[in-house]
Structures are given as structure tokens and as C-alpha cells.
Subunit: 190 residues, 2 copies
DNA sequence: GGCAAAGGTGTACGCGGTACAACTTTGAGG
DNA sequence: CCTCAAAGTTGTACCGCGTACACCTTTGCC
């Protein structure tokens, strides 16, 4: 990897870290892009070169995140029913990103734009899963979409149930809730 | 009703109509709040007195909408399983607002902010349903939330399936899709 | 070491949304 | 009918996000 790429990665990381530090201090809405850029030692314009939106700096998936998703999808046996396969991927994704999950819990729920972006991020994962399921069983595209949407909804239910728990609640609790919700959400027809 | 209230209602309606006219002409993003206000014959400030956001002018539920939801919820027999009750409400709501549905289809999908607000609107309905189900069966609040989230997800699946259909697709088609999705999404445990 | 391309920067702009201090309209009471 | 306070409207100024673009600096290859 050339010096160029190294610098880019470093800048990206610096901006992210600066942003997280400021957000944890003063909340999401209390920090402007201007400040993040200044703290990271770049210009506002450059900030927007790296992240298309302010929310992105908190939530945009790293290449590693995308990779993890692809691997998990690949790992699922073809014989596994769609619902179980999707459940396994979602659980695996959460297990792999526990630190991330804990950090995000501190910010999410405080700002509408941020929450929205978080949902869009879920949508991105959903898109991958939809394509995958449609390929697994091309006879029922509506069913594929439905399975993914339902599984995502179960994730949402688990997330808010966890959010309602006291502040220090461990990520393990969230994992239990997620597992329970996915189990109970299983469609009768699947 | 005094002159004051009449004028307020009229202004609100005028703004809405002006906005819809402009949006259908030039798309959601192609129209600024400034223009809507000018077309409706009020100031930008006044626009924001009536609608808190630009999206609100398209999507904010009228009092009649809220009333319909309350009536539908009231109509459901207590003996009906939660899943069927929620399904009936969602189907009823859609049936009652078919014109609205058709008009919205023309705008939704063209703008992120608008789509987001539409989802938030779904969230508002979800809130009502969640409270209702929790009251119906206080022993399982997580189950109540899960039921509502799953039913909403099914609605979402049906909506996007309908959006993918050719432009002139009738609302009746959407209703069929919605019914199918709700049926297939029924959790095994419910 | 020179040079094109990639990347960073400053500047200016558009738009949504808020705050606020005027100004105008409304309708109730004397 | 007049008065007057409350409700509603307006212009203005401001903030912050996001985009466009022209200009400058850095990079890595020949």
C-alpha cells in the first residue's frame, strides 16, 4: 500500500476518533462538522470528502464490517432454511461487533438524524441479505424480501428492548434479546 | 368555530394544496419551502407555524386520520389474537385511505428525507398499536412490541413490492399484497 | 527532477430550521 | 362602537449541513 492510501486511512481514522471524542463529551447535536474537522486537523471540505454526511462519521461501515457480512453470508449452509440463515447472519454480525454496539448505544436515541442513518445502515445490510436470499430461492422473491424485513424488525424490537434497560446493561443482554426476538418472530410458514 | 379557527384551517389547507401542486409538477426536492409559502400566499415563517418540517406538509396525519386509527383499534374484539387484530387495523387503515395512498406513491421513493418521515409516521401508528397490545395482554410486553414491529415490517415489504410494479398499478393490488404479506408474516408462536 | 494526477483547501452559495422583535388582525367586554 | 390584550403573521438575522468549484499542495511515476 502506497503512502497515499496510508495517509487516507490515517486521516479517516483521525476524523472518526476526533468525532467520537467530541460526541461523547458534548453529544451528537452539540458538535458541528466544523469542530470535528478542526479537531482532526483537516478542513471542513475534507471532512465531507471522507464522510458524505455528519452521521456517516459515527455509523458508516468500515470495509472490515462489509467483509464480515460477506463472510457470514458465505458460511451459511445452503440447506439451512432462509429464516435460520438470516438469523445466524444477524446474530453473528452483532457478536462480531460488540464494542461498536456498546459505543453506539451511548449516542443512538439522542438525535433523529442519527437514528435515521442507523436505520439506513440496517437497510444496507438488508439489501445484501435480500439479494442473497433471492439467489438461494429464486422462486419466491416476495418471500425473500419478507424474511429479511421481518428479521430486521425483530432486530429493531430487540434493540429498543435493550435500550429500555438501565444504562450499564451488557451487550450480552442484547444478544440474548436478539436471539429471543428472532426465535419468536419466525413466520409460521417458514 | 370562530373566524380565527376557520382561517387557520383554510391557511393550512391552502399551504397543503399549494405544496402538492408544486411537488407533482417539479418533484419534492425541486420545490423549496420559500416557494410553497409564496404560492400559498403566506410567509416562510408562517409555513413553519403550520408544519414543523417540509416533509410534514406531505405526510402529517390529519385529525381525521388519527380518529380513524382510534376507531379501528376500538372495533377489534378482545378475543381476537394480537396478530389478527393488528393485521385488521393495518388493512382497515389502508382501505380507508386509498386516495392518500395513491397520491403518496407518486412522491415517495424520490427523496430520502421524505421516505424517512414516512417511516416516522409509521412509527407513530406503531406507538399507538404497541400501547394497545400491551394493555390487551400485560403479561408479555416484548411480545406486544414484536408483534407490532413485525406487522409494520410486513407492511413495508408489501409497499416496496407494490412500488416495484408498473406506474399505474391500482391500490387494490397493494391491498392484496399487504394481505398476503401479513398472512405470511404471522409468527409461528402467535 | 519534472509532471500529471490525486487530494486538500477556501470561498461562496442554497436550503431547512430556529429565534425574535416588530406589526396586524381578531373578538370579547365595557 | 371603541379599547385592548391575545393570537397570529411577518421580516430579519442567524446556525448548520451539504454542494460546487476554482486554486493550491502533495504524491509517486517516468
Amino acid at each position: 500500500m502506497g503512502l497515499r492510501e496510508q495517509k487516507k486511512d490515517a486521516a479517516r481514522r483521525d476524523i472518526r476518533e476526533a468525532a467520537w471524542r467530541l460526541f461523547e463529551e458534548r453529544g451528537y447535536a452539540g458538535v458541528s462538522v466544523e469542530e470535528i474537522a478542526a479537531t482532526a486537523g483537516v478542513s471542513r471540505t475534507t471532512f465531507f470528502n471522507y464522510f458524505h454526511t455528519k452521521e456517516g462519521v459515527v455509523l458508516d461501515p468500515s470495509p472490515a464490517d462489509r467483509e464480515r457480512l460477506a463472510v457470514l453470508v458465505d458460511e451459511q449452509p445452503a440447506a439451512l432454511p432462509a429464516w435460520d440463515a438470516v438469523s445466524a447472519v444477524l446474530l453473528g454480525l452483532t457478536r462480531a461487533g460488540q464494542d461498536e454496539v456498546a459505543r453506539r448505544r451511548r449516542l443512538l436515541g439522542s438525535d433523529r438524524a442519527l437514528d435515521h442513518r442507523a436505520q439506513e445502515l440496517g437497510e444496507e445490510v438488508a439489501g445484501v441479505l435480500r439479494d442473497w436470499l433471492r439467489e438461494r430461492d429464486p422462486t419466491d422473491p416476495l418471500g425473500a424480501n419478507l424474511t429479511v424485513d421481518l428479521a430486521l424488525a425483530a432486530t429493531r424490537t430487540a434493540w429498543f428492548a435493550w435500550s429500555a434497560r438501565p444504562e450499564g446493561s451488557a451487550v450480552a443482554v442484547y444478544l440474548d434479546l436478539l436471539e429471543e426476538c428472532l426465535r419468536r418472530a419466525r413466520p409460521a410458514g417458514a
